[in-house]
């Protein structure tokens, strides 16, 4: 599904990603771990197509198509979803209105009619129940005055509504207490299928107890320095990132 080949990306002429190779197949869950500043968030932003980052070498392919010239919204239409580490506030735009617009824009891009209101409402009801979201929450302005936990839950709610092919969860666990973490992880697990894939970007192993990855990759200084199964996450937790850093130097 996703093929990243020798990806180099920089911002303001500073190279952040220095040759990433990664392949994600449908039905898989990949975890990307690494210390602060290793390039985790940059990787997610580059996959989503954020324009401040310049891809200087290599490629990102989705289902065999090179995404290089593809605008962020078109990537979204193709099924790429990014759960933001710091979701932005949009005052005056309700959660419902926002998600309705997002869904209908994607449908429009696919040549479909707008989703009928009753269908939309039914879907909203189902997905909000799945994530234990209070209906009142849906009429609030997007992310305005939301707690850290509410913001992340809202991200996963949007993911549930948009049903992406490839979901990238960027530090979704940060700012969550254990209960919220469990709800969010449960939501993600229920949405997982053999047709979609998830990339979990995290600093800690904690979230991976709930969303169990098939593969774990360790990112350091803009490169994947180690890959393995889920046990790698545990090993990292035990030995700390210094272990990887030292190994990378060697």
């Amino acid at each position: 599904m996703l093929k990243i080949k020798d990806l180099h990306a920089s911002i303001d002429d500073k190279e952040i990603l220095k040759g990433i190779n990664l392949e994600v197949k449908a039905g898989e869950v990949h975890a990307i771990m690494g210390p602060n500043g290793s390039g985790k968030s940059t990787l997610s932003a580059v996959i989503a197509g954020k324009e401040e980052f310049e891809v200087t070498q290599g490629s990102v392919e989705l289902d065999g198509d090179d995404l290089d010239e593809v605008a962020p919204e078109e990537r979204a239409h193709k099924g790429v979803f990014l759960s933001f580490q710091y979701p932005v506030e949009i005052p005056g735009v309700s959660v419902t209105n926002f998600i309705k617009t997002a869904i209908n824009e994607s449908r429009k891009a696919r040549g479909l009619e707008e989703m009928p209101a009753n269908e939309m409402l039914k879907m909203i009801r189902e997905k909000s129940e799945l994530l234990d979201i209070d209906r009142k929450f849906l009429s609030r302005s997007l992310n305005e005055g939301f707690s850290g936990g509410e913001k992340k839950r809202n991200e996963i709610f949007q993911m549930a509504m948009l049903e992406p092919k490839l979901a990238i969860l960027d530090e979704t666990d940060s700012g969550l207490d254990i209960d919220a973490l469990r709800i969010v992880a449960n939501g993600v697990n229920k949405l997982k299928s053999k047709d979609n894939a998830v990339i979990v970007i995290t600093h800690y192993q904690r979230l991976l107890e709930y969303i169990v990855p098939d593969f774990v990759h360790v990112l350091h200084n803009g490169k994947i320095v180690k890959s393995g199964g889920k046990e790698l996450a545990l090993e990292l937790e035990e030995k700390g990132y210094d272990w990887i850093k030292n190994e990378a130097v060697v």
Partner: protein, 481 residues
């Protein structure tokens, strides 16, 4: 003329201004310039009674002694008032019983505006008094209104048919010598709307009027007078679109509202005059005086969505004369490219327990300048007056400006006045967030702007709100690269 037509065609092709077209209807236009003879000629053409002619001449006398104000935060080349034609009316005097009799070209114009009378007729509860180049050419729903004793007609007709009402109220809220533009309007006003709601009557439908500037080089001087008698209610909608013009056009309207004891007037405006092109060439100068007078327990709400005009100078105000009266002002002003807007309100608290609310949303893009100018004045006898003002500015890009000039004059110690102001900018992060959810940049801006303006959009009648939302989107198209 052919040259202008050619140019307009070109503008139409580029579709920069959606309503930029020109209707070729023969017009009866007076020679350019302004003097007493012209004023008498205007009055004569309109078959006005002598008192009206005298009133116009008196206004002209004041105007000659006045100077164009320059305190507003706008810069433009002052119009040459002697180079303007002050009267233009469609030649074929229209008096129709059905739409079939109406000039097909005129109907075509309405169609382009998206407000075909046909459609309007079907739209339940909306009576349209269409003012095109100064003379009212179509009035619908008159019968329904007449049954309730409501008078809704052109001001010219009112001068003839209801002189006692016009004579009693015209100039009582905006005197002839109020300001330079109001004096000019009083002298030369061509037409406009008149509305009277009798005691205790709740007007069963939204009243709307569409104004259009249509004749090249013709200024438009509309005069509107709305009187809500004791205990009555009316909601009045005013929507403006204008065809593209290469030279600047002057628009100096006067609107007077009178809400007698326990009456309520809701006055909503969508203003979309030609804003000029991307280089700041052309566009309408919009110098408007709008003011309402509230008697005891009365309420006046102004709601405006201002997206057009090259230069806007407009302060819909309320004089809260009666005890317990309420004044409200809800405004969205959008400026793009080289547009300049200096708009706001005046709330004059004279009576006891008077209350006023001001919500102003300014959106600036391109190289435009957007100013809020507001005055809250509490008179010494206005015990327990209250005001709440909120002025929010939204900036797009780095070359535009947002300014806030709030003035407060409180002469009574019991007054409670609150003022809040915020300035924000549409950020790249907000846009990227929307993009990532599949929403393209134009749509994202529309969404953010609509969210920002929501408190004001909510105050508009339903059908107007939808139109206004579309206008916001059109006005800001291409404002972010």
């Amino acid at each position: 003329m052919a040259y202008t037509e050619e140019e307009l065609k070109k503008e139409l092709e580029t579709k920069e201004y959606e309503y930029g077209f020109y209707t070729d209807i023969e017009s009866d236009t007076l020679p350019v310039g302004l003097n007493e003879e012209i004023i008498i000629a205007i009055s004569k053409k309109k078959e006005e009674p002598d008192w009206m002619t005298a009133w116009r001449l008196e206004a002209f006398k004041h105007w000659k002694e006045m100077e164009e104000p320059d305190w507003a935060n706008v810069h433009y080349k002052k119009p040459d008032f002697q180079a303007i034609s002050y009267y233009s009316a469609p030649n074929k005097k229209p008096k129709y019983n059905s739409l079939d009799e109406v000039d097909p070209e005129l109907l075509e114009t309405f169609k382009k505006l998206g407000i075909s009378v046909d459609e309007q007729k079907k739209l339940a509860g909306v009576a349209v008094d269409i003012v095109m180049d100064s003379v009212s050419v179509a009035t619908t729903f008159k019968k329904t209104l007449a049954e309730k004793g409501i008078i809704f007609c052109s001001i010219s007709e009112a001068i003839k048919e209801h002189p006692e009402l016009v004579k009693k109220y015209i100039g009582t809220v905006v005197p002839q010598r109020d300001n330079f533009y109001a004096a000019l309007n009083s002298a030369v006003f061509s037409d406009g709307s008149f509305c009277y709601i009798p005691k205790g009557v709740r007007c069963p439908m939204e009243l709307s009027t569409y104004f259009r500037i249509n004749q090249a080089g013709t200024g438009q001087f509309e005069r509107t007078l709305v009187i809500a008698d004791e205990g009555s209610y009316v909601s009045y909608l005013e929507g403006c679109t204008a065809p593209s013009r290469d030279e600047n056009q002057l628009h100096a309207a006067v609107v007077e509202l009178i809400a007698l004891d326990d009456a309520e007037i809701k006055y909503s405006t969508v203003q979309n005059w030609f804003p000029g092109d991307k280089e700041g060439k052309g566009g309408v100068f919009n110098f408007v005086t709008k003011r309402g007078l509230c008697e005891k327990n009365a309420k006046i709400s102004w709601t405006q969505v201002e997206t057009g005009s090259a230069v806007t100078w407009k302060y819909p105000s309320c004089v809260l004369k009666g005890d317990n009266s309420i004044g409200e002002f809800y405004s969205i002003a959008v400026t793009n490219n080289f547009q300049q807007a200096d708009t706001g309100t005046k709330m004059v608290h004279l009576g006891k327990n008077t209350r006023s609310t001001i919500i102003s949303k300014g959106i600036s893009a391109g190289k435009s300048q957007n100013s809020y100018r507001g005055l809250v004045q509490v008179n010494s006898r206005a015990e327990n007056a209250r005001n709440f003002s909120q002025c929010d500015s939204l900036l797009m890009g780095n070359e535009c400006g947002a300014h806030t000039f709030p003035y407060i004059e409180a002469k009574n110690k019991s007054a409670q006045i609150e003022h809040e102001a915020t300035t924000s900018k549409i950020g790249e992060d907000q846009i990227f967030y929307c993009n990532q959810r599949g929403i393209d940049t134009e749509k994202a801006i529309a969404l953010i702007v609509n969210g920002f303006s929501k408190e004001v959009l909510n105050k508009l009648p339903m059908e107007f709100a939808v139109e206004a939302q579309k206008l916001l989107e059109i006005s800001l198209e291409g404002s972010v690269g």
